[in-house]
């Protein structure tokens, strides 16, 4: 438990978001200490990824469908109107979660708490809440681009 307490999860996740947006999304993502509440995000899409080993964790990225589409178009280098299927957007957000989770997991592993990444998953809808229980730490950061606001959460607990 002591080692988990030493993890600066907010900084790690904020840095991961910044790096992903800078290198692959080509959109400026301003990271804030506080993000929106889940239910403040309209037509929500949530990318989730877990990791397990010496420490277990979960990362949830909450975005509006509009922001997700903007990210998808930017990452794929296409116009917004050229996005043909929701599946394209879901896949982009899945990969976004994978990369943010991967960055976090790598820092945690190098900190001396080896763990493995799971496969990412996507949840979409307009009226739902994700309840995560049994974790010992829970941190949130907000991020956004222009009028779009999003929320990144990380949960951890001791593993093996």
């Amino acid at each position: 438990m002591g080692e988990i307490d030493k993890l600066d999860l907010k900084t790690l996740i904020a840095n991961a978001i910044g790096e992903v947006f800078d290198k692959m999304v080509s959109l400026e993502a301003g990271v804030t200490a506080m993000g929106p509440q889940e239910n403040e995000i309209e037509d929500r899409i949530v990318g989730s990824i877990g990791f397990g080993g010496e420490v277990m964790g979960r990362v949830n990225i909450h975005l509006s469908d509009a922001f997700a589409r903007l990210i998808a178009a930017s990452m794929l280098g296409i116009e917004l109107e050229d996005i043909e299927e929701q599946e394209e957007v879901d896949d982009v957000i899945s990969e976004l979660s994978n990369m943010i989770g991967g960055q976090l997991k790598s820092h945690i592993s190098d900190f001396g708490l080896p763990c493995e990444l799971s496969l990412p998953s996507i949840t979409t809808g307009s009226d739902f809440q994700i309840e995560s229980r049994g974790w010992v730490r829970h941190e949130k950061v907000g991020f956004g681009h222009q009028r779009h606001r999003a929320l990144a959460e990380v949960y951890v607990k001791p593993g093996n």
Partner: protein, 247 residues
Amino acid sequence: MALRILTVDDSRTIRKIVTKAFKPFDCEMLEAENGVEGLALAARERPDLIILDITMPMMDGVEMLSKLKNEPVLKETPVIMLTAEAAKDKVIEVVKIGVKDYIIKPFEASVLIEKAKSIVKLRAKAKEESEAIKKCFAIEDGIQVLVLPDKVTNSVMAEVDSHLKGKIKEMEKAGITKLLLDLSKVTNVDLSLVKLIVSTFKKCKNAKLAMRIVSNGALTNKLNTFKEVGGLPIDNSVDEAKAALGN
């Protein structure tokens, strides 16, 4: 001859980004979404370079890499590992098995290209190829006609698909509502051709354009073995297709 580059990643997003990164170069891009498909495609196509993810369902990148190294005809194929796994122990593991290089996601496309250039000779795509693809499109009797070349490789498929988006916008502006896809020059039916036909059909459907396909008997029989193409409107000649489109 174009370099063959195989990208193996369960993320369609990453496969698209990698394909896009190599677009300016004379490359044929191949894609697989897991290690099982990747091995099968590598054995069949003998790529010049493999861009390989680690975390994938069915067979992960580490297992695929190990199997590649055990195949006499594939063991020398250079591999760049492209992965979200930046932890030192994972990197050491894959380097020991034998990769030419690795890139941690997120990555800049320019970094991928630089690393690829240090392994294979990337040549800029000849402008002629892009110009040749543009010449596949023509307007005849108020119909957009797309005549595919004899061989529809992955790079031809990507070029045509890319040009088609712009052409459909031009059609919409000009009030042209019909497209004729002419396969009469095509000599080989493979997955690239089928993907292009399906993609063209989807684009026309989304843009509310009428579409007909022209194909000869032998080619039509081969096409009909692909369920994705079954049911699509195929005519034996351009005149038949134009008549069906109401010209």
